[in-house]
């Protein structure tokens, strides 16, 4: 029964999406009011039915209804409830339902909360959103039906990959999808603008909250995935430049560029066709990511069980959506006339630099991810290369460095025309602070690669520079404190959002540089009773014990950690052996603090009573993810800015006092 309701709900949603995708578009062109008005109820209705289908699927998992094939393949009665629920999106079919659910959530949100949008624009936006929904619903129902039935129903499910039974990973997909599916809204706005033939500051203001919301979610989603990899995948790595990681990172880079370039459209009515293109490209990268993950053309730790047949469908969808939108862009964009003029050295110029570097960085990641595929195709399978972290670190990082430098300078530049030397002069104070930070770091660390100190200096530059910008705005120190406070309260929230987000970035950079450059790692075979030292800590290996978990057997090690004789903590790393499906995982034991992580993992026994052990000391590694949280917080602050809630100006009939003529 659950399966039938769910299946039917999906089909009804498809019908509504078809209506939503066609009538309002035609209605907007022809001025047919009722057809334009259909958009909002259709969007809400589509959401209701997809939510129903999603709930049914989740119900199937919770009660372990194994007559639903998807549940039988991916669940098990012995699984804890949280993982039964997260199992809904831990497989290809279920994750597609999550995809269309979030697509529908954004559509319904615009329908219900987009009262500030002009009706024709809103109708077109919802129509485009509906068309994307049609494609994905067709894909789901047609090739990846989560409600396929099994008759007779098996008595037990086939379990779930034990690596996915983890709290961090349970929440990673929803945030990720809210992010890169959410960029479909920016895409819809861009297409609607192209159809209308008009991009203006109002458009930029209307598209901003949806883009910001998606960006915030994606930041959290990517950060969660990285953090999960750190504590789960055994050796303390947190980013592997894996194709699926890149697939979520590229929309983030493009989305960040979009947020910055939309500001120029909003404030100066310039960079219009570029911003439209960027909005199309951001969502295109999301779609490309969907293709890469599900089609099997690239190998990845994360890939779902792959099926080239599905790949064909997604590719066809990609060609229609991306190809179609780029054709529309080539046709309509030339008629978008740019507005405000500006000198190369100006806030606009700074934002153009930002876009140049972010887009090139994004293109670099795309090149590295797809290159093995291109080469394989061009050489007929004879030449194969791998593009791994050494490539990305060698290309992505150098491109991002000037961006971080500019991020502290850009906000200080006025619009239209700026005096760069003068601004740099004002930044002397920041230079000084950075120098002091560098010296302090050198004193504490005593030793380290020169590049690492430059990295720290860069992070400090951005951090102090962002705070300096606030002090400049409020004229701190140059006027009375009360006046500064008054100015601070009068600043639009978006400026604080920017400051906080940039500070978050500085924290992340600091975490990356510190943990990579000053990490200590020790690999040895230890016997019970032996000790080792790392970074001032002493670890005493007490031995291994067998134990049994809910659905696994494990051996657990015990490490007593002391520092200068004083006991600090006990670490319990494990090696778990699952039976269903058969798999072995390493659970590292981590002691996180604000200043460093102690990380212990055990490997294989050597057969004579000793065990291979890995101990790490990673300074400031958690700042990487704190920084991401701070960045998201900055985005959320921007989301509350008053100007984003201002609606379409309406004509007011009100007697106005006659203007007095100027004195002759």
């Amino acid at each position: 029964m659950i399966g039938e309701i769910g299946h039917y709900a999906l089909i009804l949603a498809l019908m509504l999406a078809l209506v939503q995708g066609t009538l309002p578009l035609v209605g907007a062109v022809r001025g047919i009011g009722p057809w334009i008005a259909v958009a909002r109820p259709a969007a809400v209705g589509q959401f209701v039915f997809i939510a129903l289908a999603f709930t049914m699927l989740m119900a199937g998992y919770i009660v372990s209804d194994f007559s639903i094939e998807n549940v039988a393949l991916n669940s098990h009665t012995a699984k804890p409830l949280l993982y039964k629920i997260s199992g809904v999106w831990g497989n290809h079919e279920g994750s597609l339902v999550l995809w269309v659910l979030i697509l529908a959530i954004f559509g319904a949100a615009v329908a219900l909360f987009g009262a500030n949008l002009p009706p024709t624009l809103r109708a077109r936006v919802l129509a485009v959103q509906g068309l994307v929904g049609v494609g994905f619903l067709l894909f789901t129902i047609g090739t990846s039906n989560p409600f396929a039935r099994l008759d007779p129903a098996p008595a037990q499910g086939q379990g779930l990959n034990p690596l996915l039974q983890d709290p961090g990973l349970a929440f990673h997909p929803p945030f990720l999808y809210l992010g890169y599916v959410g960029f479909s809204m920016a895409f819809a706005f861009a297409i609607a603008a192209l159809i209308e033939g008009r991009v203006d500051p109002a458009w930029a203001r209307w598209v901003r909250p949806w883009t910001l919301a998606a960006w915030c979610s994606l930041t959290i989603g990517v950060a969660l995935g990285s953090w999960w990899a750190y504590y789960e995948l055994g050796w303390g790595g947190w980013w592997f430049w894996d194709p699926v990681e890149n697939a979520s990172f590229m929309p983030w880079l493009a989305g960040t560029a979009l947020l910055h370039s939309a500001t120029v459209v909003e404030k100066r009515d310039a960079l219009k066709s570029w911003t439209i293109l960027l909005a199309i490209l951001t969502f295109s990268l999301s779609l490309l990511g969907t293709f890469l993950v599900r089609s099997g053309v690239l190998t990845s730790v994360h890939a779902f069980a792959t099926d080239p047949e599905r790949g064909v469908f997604i590719l066809a969808f990609l060609i229609v959506v991306i190809g179609g939108s780029l054709v529309l862009y080539a046709w309509r964009a030339p008629s978008l006339k740019g507005g405000g003029l500006f000198a190369p050295i100006s806030r606009e110029g700074g934002l153009i630099l930002n876009n140049l570097l972010l887009t090139t960085a994004c293109a670099t990641v795309l090149l590295g991810t797809l290159y093995p595929l291109f080469l394989d195709v061009l050489s007929g399978g004879e030449a194969k290369v791998s593009v791994g972290p050494p490539y990305f670190n060698g290309t992505f990082v150098p491109i991002m460095l000037p961006l971080v430098l500019a991020a502290a300078i850009g906000p200080l530049l006025p619009w239209k025309r700026a005096d760069l030397l003068g601004t740099l002069g004002r930044l002397q104070f920041v230079f000084g602070a950075v120098l002091i930070c560098g010296l302090v770091a050198w004193y504490i660390a005593e030793d380290g690669p020169v590049l690492a100190f430059f990295g720290l200096a860069l992070a400090a530059w951005l951090f102090v520079g962002s705070l300096f910008e606030v002090s400049e705005r409020t004229k701190l120190g140059r006027v009375a404190l009360g006046e500064s406070w008054r100015r601070a309260r009068g600043q639009p929230r978006a400026t604080y959002g920017m400051t906080v987000a940039h500070i978050g970035l500085a924290c992340t950079i600091f975490g990356v540089v510190a943990s990579t450059s000053w990490e200590s790692e020790k690999l040895q075979v230890m016997r019970p009773g032996e000790t080792m030292t790392i970074a001032g800590y002493t670890l005493r290996f007490e031995g291994m014990r067998d134990l049994r978990g809910p659905n696994y057997d494990a051996v657990r090690g015990t490490f007593e950690v002391t520092r200068d004789g004083a006991p600090i903590a006990t670490l319990f790393p494990e090696v778990r052996t699952f039976t269903d499906p058969p798999m072995q995982t390493t659970e590292a034991a981590i002691r996180p603090t604000l200043t460093a992580d102690l990380y212990a993992a055990v490997g294989d026994p050597d057969g004579t009573g000793g065990w291979a052990t890995r101990i790490y000391h990673k300074p400031f590694v958690h700042w990487i993810w704190f920084g991401a949280v701070i960045m998201t917080f900055g985005g959320l602050i921007s989301l509350t800015d008053r100007r984003l809630r201002i609606g379409v100006p309406t004509r007011r009939r009100r007697a106005r006092p006659a203007l007095k003529p100027a004195a002759a």
Partner: protein, 175 residues
């Protein structure tokens, strides 16, 4: 210049074509680095219960041979086994390298299912196979009369692979 607005579309078209073609290919099959190169130097004792071991000298004895890497614990090896028997029956010399297997298991496997191999080499620790560039089982190599590797197939052999890859390679080598 309208041309510049068509650039994104052009780039996307190229990407789409590449993606489409890649759907027909398998990213996990790695081409052999030893194609056209001589077989690595090695000498292995025979699998338990057999008398003829396998060494690189044997592969230079002027006949075209097929070398099949197999193991008793390998499911796909069982699937391709009848085809290997047929290859042997059709007059082609087939040798076997037994990868990381217990001697008694390998012996039992060959005794039960049939032994198509003229010579066998028991690669107990897998070291020799690494020299061949083996990364999974089963794998099959075609060696020409001078001891050069001229073809490699990864995964179990299917009738199509025999007809389209192995037999043509053997024919090429004989010329």
């Amino acid at each position: 210049m309208v041309l510049r607005y068509l650039l994104p579309l052009g780039v996307f078209a190229a990407v789409a074509v590449a993606l489409g073609v890649s759907l027909t290919m398998d990213p996990r099959i790695i081409p052999s680095a030893l194609k056209g190169k001589p077989v690595p130097e090695f000498a292995l004792a025979a699998v338990q219960g057999r008398h003829l071991g396998l060494s690189s000298d044997n592969l230079r004895e002027s006949a075209v041979t097929v070398v099949n890497v197999f193991a008793s614990w390998c499911g796909p090896c069982r699937i391709e086994h009848p085809l290997i028997m047929k290859l042997r029956d059709s007059g082609i010399t087939v040798h076997g390298i037994n990868y990381k297997d217990r001697p008694e298991n390998a012996a039992e496997w060959l005794d039960n299912f049939g032994d198509p191999y003229l010579r066998t080499g028991a690669d107990l620790d897998g070291r020799v196979s690494i020299d061949w560039g083996v990364y999974g089982v089963p794998e099959t190599y075609v060696i020409d009369g001078h001891g050069l590797i001229i073809e490699k197939h990864v995964g179990p052999l299917m009738p199509d692979d025999i007809n389209e890859k192995i037999l043509p390679a053997i024919a090429r080598a004989k010329r």
